[in-house]
C-alpha cells in the first residue's frame, strides 16, 4: 500500500457498465510521475470510458482512485482539473457556435469573484496561445473571434489540444488526438507528447495507431473488451512484437479487417 505514493494516479478494480453493456471490469491502471502511457485497444474496448472515469465525467460503479497516494472519494470534472488532470476528449468537447476564445476558457473562465469574465484578457491569452502553441499560419484562425464550427477538423483538434496544454497540468490525457489529422499535423501532436515528457509531466495517450504511440511511450497498455490484457515496458519490446501482440489480442477482429481488405481488393 505504501507504494501508492510512487504513482501520480492509480485506479484499482474499476468497473463500469451501461445498462447491460459491461464497458469495464476490474481495471487496474497506474500512471507514474513523468511517465507517458500509451493506451491501445480495439473500437469499443473501453478506452474512452476508462479515461472518462479518471477525469470525473463518469463515476465508476466500483473501484478506487488515488491521486499521489491520496484516495479520492468522489471525483468530478472540476475536482480532476483542480488536481491537475487535463483532457483532450475524443469528441474534442468544443462548442461549435462559439468563438475560439470562448472555447479555450469554457468551464474555467478568467473571471472575478462575482463571476464576471475578463473578456479582453481571455482574448489576449487566446491570441498568444494560437501563436505559440500551434504556430498556425492559416488566415482563418488569425483571430480569437473565429467561430470554431467554421474551422477544419484538424484546426478544431488543434484548439482542443492547445486548450489542454494552456492549463499547465501534471497529467495530460489525449483520447485519439491524431484521428483525422494529416501526417504533418499528427507529427505535431507527437511532438507535443515528447514535450510533455521533457517538461516532467505525465500523459495517457490513446490511439489506434501504434506508429504514433510507440516512439513516445514509456509503457504500452492494451485493453480488450473492458479488461487490461497487457501492460508492457516499451524498452523491452520491439514495434514488431507489439504489433503481433496487438493482433493476437484483437485477433478475430483483425482477421475480419484483413478479409474486408481482400474483399475490397477483389472487387
Amino acid at each position: 500500500m505504501e507504494e501508492k505514493k510512487n504513482f501520480l494516479l492509480q485506479a484499482i478494480g474499476i468497473k463500469k457498465s451501461f445498462g447491460s453493456i459491461i464497458a469495464l471490469e476490474e481495471v487496474n491502471l497506474e500512471i507514474g510521475h513523468n511517465e507517458i502511457v500509451g493506451l491501445v485497444g480495439d473500437n469499443g474496448a473501453g478506452k474512452s470510458t476508462l479515461i472518462k472515469i479518471l477525469t470525473g465525467v463518469y463515476s465508476a460503479d466500483r473501484g478506487e482512485l488515488y491521486w499521489k497516494g491520496q484516495k479520492i472519494d468522489k471525483l468530478t470534472v472540476n475536482l480532476a482539473r483542480g488536481l491537475g488532470i487535463v483532457t483532450v476528449f475524443q469528441d474534442r468537447a468544443l462548442v461549435s457556435q462559439h468563438p475560439i476564445w470562448r472555447n479555450v476558457f469554457m468551464g474555467k473562465e478568467l473571471a472575478n469573484r462575482f463571476g464576471f469574465i475578463n473578456i479582453r484578457k481571455e482574448k489576449e491569452e487566446t491570441m498568444r496561445l494560437l501563436k505559440e502553441m500551434m504556430g498556425f499560419t492559416s488566415a482563418s484562425i488569425s483571430s480569437p473571434d473565429t467561430i470554431v464550427g467554421n474551422m477544419s477538423g484538424g484546426e478544431q483538434q488543434g484548439i482542443a489540444i492547445s486548450r489542454a496544454l494552456y492549463f499547465e497540468a501534471p497529467l495530460i490525457i489525449l483520447d485519439e488526438p491524431t484521428t483525422g489529422l494529416s501526417l504533418t499535423e499528427s507529427q505535431k501532436v507527437i511532438n507535443f507528447v515528447r514535450n510533455i515528457k521533457k517538461e516532467k509531466k505525465s500523459c495517457i495517450f490513446i490511439t489506434h495507431n501504434l506508429f504514433h504511440v510507440y516512439p513516445v511511450a514509456d509503457r504500452i497498455v492494451i485493453i480488450d473488451r473492458g479488461k487490461i490484457v497487457e501492460d508492457l515496458i516499451k524498452d523491452k519490446i520491439t514495434l514488431k512484437e507489439l504489433e503481433e501482440r496487438m493482433i493476437k489480442v484483437t485477433g478475430t477482429n483483425a482477421m475480419r479487417a484483413k478479409n474486408a481488405d481482400k474483399f475490397l481488393l477483389n472487387n
Binding site: R81, D91, V95, Q97, M106, K108, E109, I119
Partner: protein, 315 residues
C-alpha cells in the same frame, strides 16, 4: 469597422427593419407620429415585453422553451394582488410576487433538468395547470386595486420624470442586468454552451442541471415582476392576467434573431423585437388602418425577419 459590421450583421438587419417601420409610419401620418403621446402609450406596454423577451432569450439559448410564463405572470399577479389587498406594503407584495414567480420557474427548471423531460410539453402543461389553479382559487373573480393609484408605489413604477415614464427606466435597468449576465458573466456563457453541446459542456465540467434550472428561475422572476406591473397598470387583478403575452413575447425573441435550436442568443435582438411589436400595433392604428390589421402585420414581419436571418446567416 468592417469587422464590426460583419459580426453584428444580424443586429444591424433587425434594427434597420425597426427604423424602416418608423419612417413608414411617420410618412404615413406625421401628425400622430411626431406627437409624443403616442410614444407614451407605447412606453407602458413596451417595458413589459422587454422584461419577458430578454429573459426568455436565456431559456431558448439553453436549448429549451418556456410556455408557462403567462401563467407564472398570472399566479404572481394573484399573489401580489391578494397580499396588497390584505394590507401588506405593496413593495413587499411585489417581492412576494417575484418570489412566487421564481418558485414556479424553479419547479419547471428542476423537473426539466433532473427528469430530462421535454420543456415544451412540461411548460405547456404547467401553463394550463397554473392557470386552472388561479381560476379555481379565484372562482374567476378579479381583485380591484384602484386604491394603489397615486400612492408612492404607483409613482415609483408608473410615474414620470418630466414626461418620461419610469417603467421604461426600470426596463433599461433590467436590460443592463441581463446584458451583463448574458455576455459578461460565466452564467450567460454556460447557458449557451449547454444549448450548443451538452456532452462537451459535461466534459468541460459545467453544472448542466444548475444552469438549466437557473435559466427557468430567471424567466419566473421576471414574470413575477411583470405580474405586479400588470395589476398596477390595469388597476385590477384579472384571473387571466398574462395570457395575452405568450405569443407576442416569443415573437419578439425570434424576430430579434435568436435561433430556436439553442446555443446562441441575442439580447439586443429581443429588445429590438419588442420595439418593433410595441410600435407596430400603435403605428397601424396611427396611419389609419383598423386594429384588425395588427395580427396580419405581426405575422408578416416575423416571417420576413426569419427569411432575412436565414439569408444573413448563409452569407
Amino acid at each position: 469597422m468592417r469587422n464590426f459590421v460583419n459580426q453584428k450583421r444580424m443586429e444591424i438587419a433587425v434594427s434597420s427593419v425597426f427604423l424602416l417601420m418608423i419612417v413608414i409610419f411617420i410618412c404615413g401620418n406625421p401628425s400622430v407620429f411626431l406627437n409624443y403621446r403616442l410614444y407614451m402609450a407605447v412606453f407602458t406596454t413596451l417595458p413589459i415585453l422587454i422584461f419577458l423577451s430578454t429573459s426568455l432569450v436565456f431559456v431558448i439559448a439553453n436549448g429549451e422553451i418556456d410556455l408557462s410564463f403567462p401563467a407564472l405572470i398570472g399566479i404572481s399577479a394573484w399573489a401580489f394582488a391578494s397580499t396588497v389587498k390584505a394590507g401588506i406594503n405593496p413593495f413587499l407584495a411585489l417581492i412576494i410576487g417575484i418570489i412566487v414567480g421564481s418558485f414556479g420557474g424553479l419547479i419547471n427548471g428542476l423537473m426539466i433538468a433532473n427528469l430530462g423531460i421535454s420543456s415544451l410539453i412540461l411548460t405547456l402543461g404547467m401553463n394550463f395547470l397554473l392557470r386552472g389553479l388561479i381560476m379555481i382559487g379565484t372562482n374567476g373573480h378579479g381583485i380591484t386595486l384602484a386604491f394603489l393609484r397615486n400612492t408612492k408605489f404607483f409613482e415609483v413604477f408608473l410615474g414620470k420624470i418630466g414626461k418620461f415614464p419610469l417603467l421604461m427606466l426600470w426596463a433599461a435597468g433590467f436590460i443592463i442586468f441581463v446584458w451583463l449576465l448574458f455576455y459578461r458573466h460565466k452564467f450567460g456563457g454556460n447557458v449557451c454552451y449547454v444549448g450548443n453541446n451538452i456532452i462537451s459542456s459535461r466534459e468541460m465540467g459545467i453544472d448542466i442541471k444548475r444552469v438549466k434550472t437557473l435559466a427557468f428561475v430567471l424567466v419566473g422572476a421576471s414574470s413575477g415582476f411583470v405580474g405586479g406591473m400588470l395589476c398596477l397598470i390595469n388597476n385590477q387583478f384579472y384571473p387571466n392576467t398574462g395570457d395575452g403575452y405568450l405569443l407576442i413575447a416569443l415573437t419578439a425573441v425570434f424576430l430579434g434573431g435568436t435561433p430556436t435550436k439553442g446555443g446562441v442568443g441575442t439580447i439586443f435582438g429581443a429588445i429590438i423585437g419588442a420595439f418593433i411589436l410595441g410600435f407596430l400595433e400603435t403605428g397601424i392604428i396611427g396611419i389609419g388602418l383598423s386594429g384588425f390589421y395588427t395580427k396580419f402585420f405581426f405575422g408578416l414581419i416575423l416571417i420576413l425577419a426569419l427569411i432575412s436571418h436565414r439569408i444573413y446567416k448563409t452569407k
